[in-house]
Amino acid sequence: MLNKLWRQRAFHFMLIPGVILVFIFSYLPFYGLMISFQDYNPGLGFNSPWVGMENFEHVFQQPNFLRTIWNTLYMSFFKMIGGIVVPVIFALLLNEVARTFIKRTFQTLVYLPNFLSWVIMAGIMIDILSLEGIVNSFLGLFGAGPVSFLGDPSIFPWTMIVTDIWKGFGFGTVVYLAALTSIDPGLYEAAVIDGAKRWKQTLYITLPLLAPTIVLMSVLSLSNVLNAGFDQIFNLYSPSVYESGDIIDTYVYRLGIQQAQYSVGTAVGLFKSVVSCVMVALSYFLADRVAGYRIF
């Protein structure tokens, strides 16, 4: 053991800066979690009075809190599914394009929205999706009545899901395209000799070899199961769609952060972290069992 450490000492030294950064920015703040069990007063700092689980009770007793959990899970689930399926399909399609120039151009184009913040995107979306916006004008051509994409509670979650996938799928596409280039061309040549057509090649070579990447991306995204996209929803929602569009983060923002109620905000943050931690552990276990894939 020590011998091995000694042999790899150069690597361990190189690790030190990273370890220190992680320690300072990810582990030291754990200390601050205590304020979720306090009645925090900025002036008293960490010496604020202890109140036990009161902050958690306060949040969970809110009659509207449960629906925000449901909304969060609903939207993040479909965002996650779409966030895996859409980029995989798009990467596969793009990979079939023969001309490198066109391929690169499309890759860049779909990646671009990723770099715009939701504050800017929301302004554009509100215009596009308004009753007199271009989407409704287009629907009008087919005689469909104007749809209130942002004001109708039954449609709002899907507006969020679709626009979020649209904005984010470029990133996944780039990752999967990279994974595709690492597949040994020899395998395809062998398959062609065996008489496999494009579809069979995709089914029996590309997808199985892409599976580890897909599993990795899914496991990573599972840690976000309780983040349904604060930036996006906060900039697009309104009281008329709270029933289906209010998520944990936006609710807590209105409950606590807006009024500088740090204890409540921290309590919910802790709750979310615990759930996310369980989700990651669970997905790691499942990935190992079902797909036989281990990240570590």
């Binding site: 450490l5 220190i20 900025p42 009659p63 004001g151 807006q258």
Partner: protein, 551 residues
């Protein structure tokens, strides 16, 4: 093995060094407590001039500031270095050092409070004031204020004693309220586009039914939608007093206990009518997803001719309306009409939102008071004491608003100002003007009448038009057609703890009723939800803090 140990030690010492560095910087801001009374200039009689005397030795005050984006500084000046800070140095020998400027003031200040890096003098909101008092971080200013505050500043406190008392705890003054322009700016109006109204020959509205008819006629003749509103319902709610409802107010109920105005039966009546209006298409069909700027964009683009709004309509969106649609398209304010045509009872809220406080460790708390005296004297007496250019440099282009913690306003400013301005506009006699504000309102009113300059719209509609907003407000105040909310000061902690979620329940439910997704009977269910979600707790807390003792 050795190497490993060394590396662990090294990384540990690094962490320790970092930690101690943090500790150091936190401590440096703590300076010694108050010392001797510093030497100050004397007046003609040889007495120490406490209120305005300059220091012999320079005194340094650290402060922090919120960005004030609409201030237009002359070249080279900014929030931290401007005519005010130079005057502090020249006239009082006080160096005001700004530690930071931010447009997220409350958040940044909360961080500063928790890391104990407070400046000497700063301004806080009511919640922060209570927290700081509890944490024993700010100074008891009772004596300093008594000794150093000018008579003028003291008279402000007398003029609005309840705001003054809201800065106290157990009879000791901790936060000096920065006050407000006066409750004359609080009554609300229904603003109606004048060229449309005249073209159709419509009478002034006196009942809620009249609003409906005007809106219908406007829609018929000019398209668009009648009444502008937004998703918070804040603007639609301004009309509620027409039905005798007082949303957001805490008022005595039938049994004398305080109740929340938004959940009273009068509100139900208002909602029932609004639901009908929405169905008729005279409330913006997209109000539920529009925010403040989207609502105003509808008015500026000429889609709406009726807007429930505050007295400052002329500043925003008024300026844009005149720029975009021309001088004739201005809206005039009308008293909010009622169901039965009798005058409405207006809602008056607690107006003081900001307090100036002094760090417990500040050496020269009196310096802060001197600067407040200076501010008050510039605003109230500036036009007698300074030459016009100097005064303009201090006040115009919103430079008057950049002083941050060193700001205090005469709570009778607007009332007196309006009296003088409207009198002068009638008689053309400006000799009685005492403040630069009066000159500004007067000049802009004349300017708008003559040239229709968009930038002058605000002052014109507030004070100088044939139907000035303040004219209506003045009669509301003079005839006492208003009630004050009982929550006169900082909100109880429980209320803060619910954030906006309790009001959200109501807004969400009311939106559904107005849009017709639920019938009017849903109101009772919404109120019930509100009660169980915490409305009952909050009502109790408000009663405990502000209610009359049980008889």
């Amino acid at each position: 093995m050795n190497r490993k140990l060394v590396s662990i030690l090294l990384s540990l010492s690094l962490v320790l060094a970092l930690l101690s560095a943090c500790g150091d910087s936190a401590n440096t801001s703590k300076t010694a407590g108050s010392g001797e009374e510093p030497k100050q200039a004397t007046n003609e009689k040889g007495e120490v001039d406490y209120a305005f005397g300059s220091y012999e030795e320079p005194v340094t005050l650290h402060t922090v500031r919120a960005e004030y984006a609409s201030a237009q500084f002359p070249n080279g000046d900014n929030m931290t270095k401007n005519i005010w800070t130079r005057a502090y140095k020249e006239r009082f020998n006080i160096d005001v050092v700004t530690d930071w400027v931010t447009d997220e003031y409350d958040t940044k200040l909360n961080l500063a409070i928790s890391s104990k890096k407070l400046p000497d003098v700063f301004h806080v909101n009511p919640t922060q004031l209570q927290q700081l008092i509890k944490a024993d971080m700010i100074m008891d200013l009772t004596e300093v204020f008594d000794k150093y505050a000018s008579d003028r500043v003291k008279s402000y406190m007398e003029a609005d004693r309840s705001s003054y008392e809201s800065g106290m705890k157990d009879g000791k003054l901790y936060g000096i309220p920065q006050m407000h322009w006066g409750i004359i700016d609080q009554p609300d109006y229904i603003w109606i586009r004048n060229d449309w109204k005249e073209e159709l020959g419509l009478p002034d509205p006196t009942t809620t039914e009249d609003i409906k008819n005007i809106a219908l006629k406007f829609k018929e003749a000019y398209g668009g939608f009648g009444i502008a509103a937004d998703q918070t319902l804040d603007y639609l709610n301004l009309l509620a007093i027409g039905w005798g409802a007082h949303p957001d107010m805490w008022i005595p109920g039938e049994d004398g206990k305080l109740v929340y105005g938004t959940v009273q039966p009068e509100m139900k009546a208002a909602l029932a009518d609004w639901a009908e209006w929405y169905k008729l298409g005279i409330i913006d069909p997209e109000f539920a997803i529009k925010d403040f700027s989207a609502m105003n964009a509808g008015v500026v683009s000429g889609k709406s001719g009726i807007q429930p709004y505050y007295q400052w309509w002329g500043y925003n969106p008024g300026v844009d309306v005149v720029t975009n649609l021309g001088k004739d398209a201005i809206f005039y304010p009308y008293n909010i009409p009622t169901v039965d045509g009798k005058p409405a009872t207006h809602s008056i809220f607690f107006a003081n939102g900001v307090y100036t406080v002094v760090n417990k460790n500040c050496k020269n708390p009196e310096a802060a008071i001197k600067l407040l005296n200076f501010y008050a004297s510039m605003l109230d007496e500036g036009s007698q004491k300074e030459d016009p250019e100097t005064l303009s440099a201090f006040l115009d282009n919103d430079i008057a608003h950049v002083t941050g913690a060193f700001k205090i306003i005469n709570p009778e400013t607007d009332y007196t100002q309006f009296e003088h301005v409207s009198e002068a506009l009638k008689t053309n006699d400006t000799s009685k003007f005492t403040t630069s504000g009066m000159w500004q309102k007067y000049n802009n009113s004349v300017e708008f009448k003559k040239n229709g300059t968009p930038a002058a719209t605000g002052d014109f509609l507030q004070q100088g038009s044939p139907k000035p907003a303040y004219g209506l407000a003045k009669s509301v105040l003079d005839n006492e057609q208003y009630i004050k909310t009982a929550l006169w000061g900082a909100p109880p902690e429980v209320l803060v703890k619910y954030g906006s979620t309790l009001d959200d329940i109501l807004t969400e439910g009311f939106t559904k009723i107005i849009m017709g997704a639920e019938s009017i009977d849903y109101f009772d269910k919404v109120v019930e939800n509100w009660r169980t979600a915490g409305g009952n707790d909050v009502t109790e807390a408000v009663n405990e803090m502000y209610g009359q003792p049980a008889n």
